[in-house]
């Protein structure tokens, strides 16, 4: 049988409408808006100014410090302005606006479609190339990859786990990538193995993607040490700690990182981006995005340049349906709702989901009936109802003791709550407040 993590988890309707839609290239838009903060860590600082001409792939904003990431132009054209835009974080962010002129790439990028399997770069060179190319984790969190690859002294990595789970409903960008770019991904995995100096890599893919499992297994058989594992369909299996538990049966201890168990987890899309960066010298300025929704006439998967407003994607998929009540950047379980269609696609955007109005409304909040369904689906075995009550009442010390900061905000508790209680909303509030209080305490 397929493996999975033992406790908790839910099975929302999969709704993978675009699982068999091949990845198309979205035409380059007339203007792009590239936020300087597309990753966790310090925002990048723009290197260009108004009126400058940039080529596709050119560095336009430099990462600041170690935990940060470079930003490259995804198009060629003139810098219109550097201003603020409301992006998918929901807040105003500084962004570089570029008016597109043609599509002239910088010369160092190898644009041939030939698959290069031989890895010429050494370990430090690979990490340096990842940093230069602005590679970040593409599963959603957008954590700079070079930070994850640089193992601190005193720690060892012995297993690399590649996350091809894609447990969110609707999203199929990783799925299609695994089907169509399996060879590139496997080479990317080999590069990662070399960078981390490990012999073993495990690729976890949920059982609802048999074609992806087949393609990846075939390619993986050509390389020593890479194994592909089918996993039982269960949300939130794509979460780092749950995936580790499912594949290796090891639990990352409370307050520790996977690296403390000698494990590093990377997403398949990240592996593909690393392949392109290392073998083709192509910085990260393009990614696969699923555009989907029940009312869309033509949902699909597209290679999209970063900075493309999502309205371009929606137009390519058949236009904004009349009944759209909510636009989600990411999946319906963990994505962020955006308030306008001008929001740009960034490195961490795995999909855009358009939700019809009747599905986009939250139901009336009713009193908690203490059914404990939230506890039973919590994959961290916690007590969401309690954490919500503590956060709602502002009892931060008790919230901290209840382990509120362990929550990874998968949303299973809010999903199952029969009384429609906004459990995760309050847990998130409690989490941020407790983290703030902790920082203040540590600062003293």
């Amino acid at each position: 049988m397929f493996k999975t993590f033992p406790s908790g988890g839910i099975h929302p309707p999969e709704l993978k409408l675009t699982g068999s839609a091949p990845i198309l290239y979205l035409p380059v838009p007339e203007t792009v808006t590239i936020p300087v903060s597309q990753h966790i860590g310090a925002p990048a600082v723009p290197l260009v100014s108004k009126g400058d001409y940039v080529k596709t792939g050119q560095l336009i904003a430099a990462g600041q410090g170690f935990v940060s990431s470079n930003i490259h132009s995804s198009v060629s054209g003139k810098i219109n302005k550097i201003d603020t835009i409301i992006d998918s974080t929901g807040y105003r962010q500084s962004a570089i606006f570029i008016d597109v002129e043609g599509d002239e790439w910088i010369d160092s990028i190898d644009r041939s479609s030939e698959i290069i399997r031989e890895i010429k770069l050494t370990t430090p060179e690979i990490i340096k190339r990842c940093q230069e190319s602005g590679i970040v984790g593409m599963g959603g969190a957008a954590f700079p990859s070079h930070v994850k690859l640089a193992i601190p002294s005193g720690k060892n990595c012995n297993i690399l786990i590649i996350n091809g789970v894609e447990c969110e409903p609707f999203l199929t960008s990783d799925h299609r990538l695994m089907v169509e770019k399996a060879a590139e991904i496997i080479t990317g995995v080999s590069i990662l193995m070399k960078a981390l100096n490990v012999d073993n890599a495990m690729i976890g893919i949920e059982a609802n993607k048999p074609d992806a499992i087949a393609c990846m297994t075939e390619e993986a058989s050509l390389v020593r040490g890479i194994s592909v594992h089918g996993l039982k369909v269960k949300y939130p299996q794509g979460a780092e700690k749950q995936l580790i538990k499912a594949l290796t049966n090891k639990e990352v201890p409370h307050g520790k990182l996977p690296l403390d168990l000698g494990i590093v987890v990377q997403n398949v899309a990240t592996a593909f981006a690393i392949y392109e960066a290392v073998q083709k010298n192509k910085p990260l300025f393009e990614r696969v995005v699923t555009i989907t929704g029940k009312s869309l006439t033509n949902p699909g998967n597209y290679f999209v340049r970063t900075g493309t407003p999502i309205v371009r994607l929606i137009d390519a998929a058949g236009g904004l349906p009349e009944d759209t009540g909510k636009i989600i950047s990411g999946g319906p379980m963990m994505g962020k709702a955006v308030n306008n269609t001008g929001v740009p696609v960034v490195k961490g955007t795995s999909g855009i989901v358009l939700v019809p109005l009747e599905d986009a409304k939250r139901e009336t909040i009713k009193p908690c009936i203490r059914c404990a369904k939230c506890s039973s689906v919590c994959s961290f075995n916690q007590e969401p109802y309690l954490m919500m009550a503590l956060a709602e009442r502002g009892l931060w010390e008790r919230a901290e003791a209840s382990g509120i900061t362990d929550c990874m905000e998968c949303g299973s508790c809010s999903y199952v709550c029969p009384a429609n209680r906004p459990i995760l909303d309050y847990i998130r509030l409690g989490k941020s407040t407790v983290n703030k209080l902790k920082r203040e305490r540590n600062a003293k």
Partner: protein, 287 residues
């Protein structure tokens, strides 16, 4: 049989006596010597336990008052001067005089002035909306309208106006305890000096956005044009982070800034009606 009743009475009396003796010694042993003035002061405090004084409740404040060397920095905003003077009399110390304060909401972004750009559909809690995104308008500084201040107020002094989606503070009920100030995640509420006849004059905007951004999001935003700064004769107005601020202690309530403000972001309340310019002119002609 005849013995039953006397025996019962006897044994119960004995039991009562023994218990009384035990209780007496226990009471002696665990006697807590407490300053009787704490009770006296607690009796005159408002008993609202709002925490406006900075202590957890009225009892704690009474203890603090008794324990303090001077009454400086100690104030019960709810009771005001009357209560503090009474407390001072009990303790034989002079109570400091604090200006009575009132809370004002530094946002006037009603639905009319600030167009909505999304519908907030999450939990009805300002803190959650604030952590999530800029809010249901394009102003990332203004009121979110989910009523955290209304819930925080223990004196029922704040109501939500569902037409404007802004909270309204009632002057007669507000005791300036400061609970709403702490509750607002966007720091829109300020405790200002109460002027005579409840006159209020303040910049009803908290937008630190640049003029253009602020104006685009809200018609009554402060755009930091500094016109008020120039016209103010008492030097009460300062501009920081693209936002004007009127110092209530320096302000003479001349109201010149109100008419000068191009966006109307400075509000006045409880002033006598202004004479219109045309009326003034006709008055001078006829006179």
């Amino acid at each position: 049989m005849s013995l039953t009743i006397p025996l019962t009475i006897l044994s119960l009396s004995l039991l009562a006596f023994v218990s009384a003796v035990i209780l007496y010694f226990v009471a002696q042993k665990f006697k807590v010597i407490e300053d009787p003035r704490i009770d006296e002061i607690q009796a005159i405090l408002p008993a609202a336990n709002c925490g406006g004084c900075g202590f957890a409740g009225c009892r704690n404040f009474a203890e603090a008052l008794v324990g303090a060397d001077t009454l400086e920095n100690l104030n019960c905003p709810v009771g005001g001067i009357a209560v503090m003077t009474a407390a001072g009399n009990i303790l034989g110390k002079t109570a400091p005089v604090f200006d009575p304060l009132i809370a004002v909401i530094k946002c006037n972004g009603t639905a009319e002035f600030r167009s909505r750009t999304s519908n907030y559909d999450g939990a009805p809690d300002c803190r959650i909306a604030h952590n999530l995104y800029i809010g249901d308008t394009d102003c990332s500084y203004g009121c979110l309208g989910n009523g955290d201040c209304v819930r925080a107020c223990t004196f029922n002094a704040i109501n939500m106006d569902y037409e404007t989606m802004l909270p309204v503070i009632m002057d007669n009920k507000c005791v300036a305890c400061g609970l709403c100030v702490k509750a607002c995640p966007r720091n829109l509420i300020e405790l200002r000096k109460r002027a005579k006849k409840e006159k209020k004059l303040y910049v009803a905007c908290s937008s630190c956005g640049k003029g253009g951004t602020a104006r685009k999001a809200c018609k009554v935003a402060c755009i930091a044009c500094s016109k008020c700064l120039q016209i103010c004769e008492s030097g009460a107005i300062t501009i920081n982070n693209y936002l004007a601020y009127i110092d209530a202690k320096k302000c003479t309530l001349c109201r010149k800034c109100v008419t000068e403000c191009p966006t109307g972001s400075i509000l006045e309340f409880n002033f006598p009606p202004r004479k219109l310019k045309s009326e003034l002119e006709t008055a001078s002609i006829s006179g």
